[in-house]
């Protein structure tokens, strides 16, 4: 699908945020963020509670219209576009607070996600493939509302994959998962990243180490540092904001 990436070559930006600010009343949850992600890049986004990570995701997916700044997806300006329009351009998101169809079965959840503007045969193929890939075949007929939290996270990831996006945003995908599930999630993310660009928000540092190459650190709505995972995790400023915030 995407052209192979030569290491060291400059990545063509897939999504680009310029000067993005989101104010709620007097508080700027996101303040002048410049952010660029290349094709088939995997980026981890970390930062203390309230740093603005989820708000940034909501802006990227059209759930919030930024007070200032622009977002470009390839050549399209998507600033303030409707969420469904952005989704159709190939952006999928697993939200921090699970958004699934609780009253429908696992199968139906994935079917609805897979089926937009596709033939029935193609839809069915995507559904089968996605359920198998995420190991959900055994519970395909269960109501999603009755599943454990970890399983519902997987269902939500399945709906995101079934929609066949090019850019996948995962907001705390490992939250509430067992040790085993966290490992499987990490493996899955690495596998998805072979063909797709991802931005992953997580607080779980061991998990970040499992998947990350480049890490962007948010703090108080701004980007604090952006560097390779080793350098970021060794950075004393990063430790300070994390410790400072968590102690507070």
């Amino acid at each position: 699908m995407s052209a192979p990436i030569t290491p060291g070559a400059p990545l063509r930006p897939l999504i680009e945020a310029r000067g993005v600010t989101m104010r709620f009343g007097g508080v700027a949850a996101v303040a002048g963020v410049d952010f660029t992600l290349g094709e088939v890049e995997l980026r981890c986004l970390i930062g203390p509670n309230g740093a603005g990570k989820s708000t940034f995701f909501k802006i990227l997916t059209g759930q919030l219209k930024p007070t200032e700044g622009t977002i470009r997806l390839r050549d399209t300006d998507i600033t303030g576009a409707e969420p469904h329009a952005i989704a159709r351009l190939g952006v999928g998101i697993k939200t921090q607070v699970p958004n699934v169809f609780n009253g429908l079965s696992v199968h139906e959840n994935v079917f609805v996600a897979a089926g937009r503007r596709k033939s029935l045969a193609r839809t069915r193929a995507i559904v089968d493939e996605t359920l198998t890939r995420l190991g959900l075949t055994g519970i395909a007929r269960s109501l999603v509302g009755q599943l454990a939290h970890g399983q519902r996270q997987w269902v939500e990831i399945a709906t995101v994959l079934a929609q066949e996006p090019e850019l996948i945003l995962l907001d705390e995908p490992a939250a509430g998962m067992t040790h085993d599930e966290v490992h499987r999630t990490a493996a899955l993310i690495r596998e998805i990243n072979r063909t797709h660009a991802l931005i992953v928000v997580e607080h779980d540092m061991p998990f970040i180490r499992m998947i990350a190459k480049t890490v962007t650190v948010f703090n108080q709505g701004r980007i604090l540092v952006e560097d390779s995972v080793d350098r970021v995790l060794a950075d004393s400023r990063v430790r300070d904001v994390y410790l400072g915030k968590q102690a507070a």
């Binding site: 009253g103 429908l104 139906e108």
Partner: protein, 356 residues
């Protein structure tokens, strides 16, 4: 804001559908053979109101749209039929007009509500208000200056002597009581089958998915506003057809069809029969109407009080409504008789129902 239902959305199993269809057809052909004229005419009225219940059950239970002024569309359908059949003579086109006029009105109203991002609760208020406004408007049309062609609207007195349905092309041969029964009950069965087909289609699945989680539906690329608008219009068309049948049943229509009590009654049909089912609202309509008649023909308790008590009892004792409760019992029975049968690959609804 939609009350949560334990039942999975895309409906009954195929089995339930076929059973309902068979029952509907049995009633359609059996009633004229077993009931006297009085009973049959009464049942024709029940069929019209069951159709009204169907429309409320669809829009509220499946699309999750709190359209609480559904009487607006019932009334528009009834009046559209009356006015056009008085002017045209042949009833074929007026039946279509009775469906299309409420749909167009719903299209306009729905466009402003859904695309204007009105919240769920306010949609309830707005639809209810619109039905009350229509009531007031039509109520104020007394006098011969308020006429559409040959049809005088008649204000609170309504329109009397509305010509009954006729076979296409034979306006001088209106249907008799049997014929009206077949028309009303046949239309009800047809509307049920069509709505089931809509819900089984991909469009219907998305409508139900939006009811379950609008944000998720948006995030996978569906525009909820469009789907809600279309579902709202479909329900309005069904209510309009119910209004047409209702006008045929009495040969008369008055502003009370737009009234608050009409909108309230249809909500009660749905609550009693079961939100999130199509069969429930139809059964609820028949049950409530039958109770109203039965309450009116006895003298022990005041009929309104009696009906009120029945409703309160229902909401407290059977909050999910009749059909979901019965269905749950049946499923449990089946489960007990066939333990550990593997879930079938197709027909997800059946399996998901068993799962609860």
């Amino acid at each position: 804001m939609t009350p949560s239902r334990p039942s999975p959305a895309v409906g009954l199993s195929l089995l339930g559908f076929l059973a309902t269809l068979a029952l509907g057809l049995a009633i359609l052909f059996g009633a004229p053979r077993t009931l006297d004229t009085f009973g049959l005419v009464q049942c024709t009225g029940f069929a019209a109101l069951a159709m009204f219940g169907l429309s409320q059950g669809f829009v509220w239970g499946f699309a999750g749209v709190m359209s609480f002024g559904q009487a607006a569309f019932l009334g528009l359908g009834g009046y559209a039929y009356a006015v056009s059949v008085i002017n045209l003579g042949d009833s074929t086109l007026p039946v279509l007009i009775a469906i299309v006029v409420p749909m167009l009105f719903a299209g306009l109203l729905g466009y402003f509500m859904f695309y204007g991002r009105i919240s769920d609760a306010y949609i309830g208020v707005i639809t209810l208000t619109v039905s009350v406004i229509l009531f007031q408007l039509v109520n104020a049309t007394s006098g011969s200056q308020y006429r559409i062609g040959a049809a005088e609207l008649g204000g609170f007195n309504g329109i009397p002597a509305i010509p009954a349905l006729n076979l296409p092309g034979h306006p001088d041969e209106p249907l008799d009581n049997d014929g009206l029964w077949y028309a009303a009950m046949g239309a009800l069965v047809l509307a049920y089958v069509l709505l089931r087909a809509v819900l089984a289609s991909r469009f219907g699945r998305v409508v139900v998915a939006i009811r379950e989680n609008e944000t998720r539906a948006q995030l996978i690329g569906y525009d909820p506003r469009l789907y809600k608008l279309l579902a709202f219009m479909i329900a309005a068309g069904v209510a309009g057809l119910a209004g047409c049948l209702y006008a045929n049943w009495g040969g008369f229509i008055s502003p009370t069809v737009f009234g608050l009590s009409m909108s309230a009654q249809v909500i009660i049909y749905v609550l009693v029969g079961g939100l999130g089912t199509l069969v429930g609202p139809m059964l609820g309509a028949v049950l409530i109407q039958w109770l109203i008649i039965a309450a009116g023909s006895q003298t022990v308790v005041d009929s309104n009080l009696g009906l009120g008590l029945v409703l309160v009892g229902f909401v407290l004792l059977v909050p999910q409504g009749l059909v979901p409760v019965v269905r749950g019992l049946l499923l449990r029975l089946i489960e007990r008789r066939t333990p550990s049968r593997p879930a079938p690959e197709a027909g997800g609804a059946l399996a998901t129902e068993r799962a609860r």
